[in-house]
């Protein structure tokens, strides 16, 4: 408390010189050396799309030719649904993908199944359908390009992209 008062006082003095008020974003912090808080929109800001992508986890992976969610996948999606509940201005686009084993048309349909599995799970966790859109890229957008299972495994994915752009 004593420290806080000092800080306020210090800031009052500094206000004349343009006090950086983001120092007070995190009121639990009393450590002057570490109380800057995350930069809004950065990967440390829990309400940022970057945080969603990197910390919550924006993707789930699938077994060969499958669209059933794994236990690990469901756990990631639980995190996604909480994040979406806390950030209601964001909508989600779920992109389904397949690896390169399979024909173009079949993989489009398979990617759609995967995106749909994610959508259904998120809806079951309370995310309104109106906030979710789905698309499939089939095998058109690999992120790993070796022709081995190590790469295929990462390409068989559904990625949730969050943005404030309306879904409709």
């Amino acid at each position: 408390m004593k420290l806080m008062s000092k800080t306020v006082l210090l800031c009052a003095v500094m206000a004349l010189a343009g006090c950086a008020n983001d120092r007070f974003d995190d009121t639990n912090s009393v450590d002057l050396g570490n109380n800057a808080g995350p930069v809004v929109g950065s990967a440390q800001d829990p309400n940022s799309p970057l945080y969603f992508q990197q910390t919550v986890g924006d993707r789930v992976l699938f077994e060969v030719d499958q669209s059933t969610l794994t236990a690990a996948g469901r756990s990631v999606l639980d995190g996604q649904s909480s994040w979406l509940a806390n950030n209601s201005e964001y909508n989600a686009l779920i992109e389904g993908h397949a690896d390169e084993q399979g024909t173009r048309q079949y993989n489009l349909a398979l990617g759609a199944r995967r995106a749909n599995s994610v959508q259904e799970y998120l809806v079951s966790r309370g995310v309104p359908t109106s906030r979710i859109k789905v698309v499939s890229y089939g095998k058109e957008r690999p992120i790993e390009i070796c022709s081995e299972e190590a790469c295929y495994a990462k390409n068989r994915r559904a990625v949730t992209v969050v943005s404030v752009v309306p879904t409709s």
Binding site: G102, R104, Q105, L108, A109, A115, N116, V135, E140, S147
Partner: protein, 444 residues
């Protein structure tokens, strides 16, 4: 661009005598039976076409070259080098010295003349000779077209040679619409291209701003159906080849549509529509109305193709657990499975002759292009590689073109062709990567 073939009746009055010596009857007419097991390519000679006037000069050699490439490319014909020629053809109307062509074993001789008329039109006349019968094979023809269209005229001559000797329709005066690809696998740019069947004269129909997939020609070759991500979601578009104008065919919100295919009537379109993660087959009018659902299953139904008479549809479905080929009535209903081998089957395409289905097969980590009879019997795999897919038929049902993609991080797509006996595998020359070919009908 090119007027219809005109019989060169005038030539029969030019003093060309067509005496048929007795031995010609014994040797039989010049003919290649394509159904035979092993084919010895038929040797032919195409001297440069004689220029009837100065303006025609630049075309004589080029036209002969394209005819020669067309015939050689079939694997059924073998070119005799010009260096071996004993007599030169300097006048189209002079009698052919058959002995000189027999001496170099030219079984077929194609002789022609080219000129540019008063209106700037290219005029090409040609005759095909059965050398060992000392006679002409069929009648001489005259073709008239634009100078820009010289390649098409050459292809039409080659189509005549091919069809007179094999007894089957030709396929050289045709085009291919495809997806031109640039960039590495994880940043691939795609746009629609159209070119002659041999890779010449590439033109682009879209830019690379949106992902495009699997173009398909209308039965007359004037329009193309394809899938584009223009809106961010895969939707079917129809594009007019001449004007490059396009419009979305269907735009139901919250759905994806892809794998379109024209019916033989040129008005009905079959396609896949995905709703709630489930992909089924639908048909609709090219004008946008009359959407009708053909399959109602929780499985994936895609890659539909009509029989040439429009009465049936062959398609791909994983209703049995793995993707397999099925045939049903064009109005839907019960489907019967036709693929029975080990592996996964996809992208079935009905041959223009109606007797065969070409398909992609995935088995033991390899991809194949194959053909089977309509009842699923006599399956024959024509190719094998890391990734072969998406067959399309030549207009005469003799050759199949498809996509081959190489393995690994540097993997690149190219177009290949193979004939339905599995012989004569060739890469089609393209300047960019290329995938998803669709072969046009023979041009008029």
């Amino acid at each position: 661009m090119v007027r219809l073939l005109t019989l060169l009746v005038a030539l029969s009055m030019l003093g060309l005598t067509l005496n048929i010596p007795a031995f010609a009857q014994e040797s039989g007419p010049l003919k290649i039976e394509i159904t035979e097991g092993v084919i010895e390519p038929l040797p032919f000679a195409v001297p440069d076409f004689v220029a009837d006037n100065g303006a025609g000069a630049e075309f004589g050699r080029k036209i002969a070259q394209v005819i020669s490439d067309d015939l050689t490319g079939t694997g059924l014909f073998r070119k005799i080098s010009k260096d071996a020629f004993i007599s030169q053809i300097t006048s189209f109307s002079s009698p052919v010295q058959f002995a000189d062509w027999k001496a170099i074993n030219a079984q077929a001789l194609i002789s022609g003349a080219v000129s540019v008329d008063d209106t700037g039109k290219l005029v090409v006349r040609f005759r095909i000779y059965d050398v060992f019968a000392d006679q002409e094979l069929g009648q001489g023809l005259q073709l008239v077209g634009t100078q820009d269209g010289w390649r098409r005229i050459a292809h039409k001559v080659a189509d005549q040679v091919y069809s007179r000797i094999t007894g089957e329709g030709g396929y050289f005066d045709s085009r291919v619409v495809f997806v031109a690809e640039n960039g590495p696998k994880d940043q691939r740019q795609k746009r629609l291209g159209i070119m002659d069947y041999d890779g010449a004269g590439v033109k682009y129909l879209t830019d690379s701003s949106a992902l495009v997939l699997a173009p398909r020609f209308s039965p007359t070759g004037d329009r193309v159906l394809y899938t584009s991500y223009e809106t961010g979601f895969p939707k079917i578009y129809v594009l007019d080849v001449a004007s490059v104008g396009r419009r979305a065919l269907e735009n139901q919100d919250g759905t994806m549509s892809f794998a379109p295919r024209f019916a033989p009537d040129g008005r009905t379109v079959l396609f896949s529509l995905t709703k709630g993660g489930n992909t089924d087959l639908y048909r609709m009018n090219i004008d946008g109305g009359g959407t009708e659902r053909l399959t109602v299953t929780p499985s994936i139904e895609t890659a539909p193709s009509f029989s040439p008479d429009g009465s049936q549809i062959v398609f791909e479905s994983d209703r049995s657990g793995t993707p397999q080929l099925y045939i049903m009535s064009a109005s839907g209903g019960e489907a019967r499975r036709i693929s029975n081998g080990q592996g996964r089957y996809g992208t079935p395409v009905w041959s223009p002759r109606g007797d065969l289905i070409a398909f992609t097969k995935q088995s033991k980590g390899r991809f194949h292009i194959g053909v089977m009879r309509v009842d699923g019997s006599e399956e024959r795999l024509l190719t094998a590689s890391f990734l072969d897919e998406g067959p399309t038929w030549s207009p005469n049902g003799r050759v199949i073109m498809f996509t081959r993609e190489t393995q690994g991080a540097a993997g690149r797509s190219s177009l290949y062709s193979v004939d339905i006996t599995g012989r004569n595998l060739r890469q089609v020359t393209t300047t960019t990567g290329a995938s998803d070919p669709a072969w046009s009908p023979l041009q008029k």
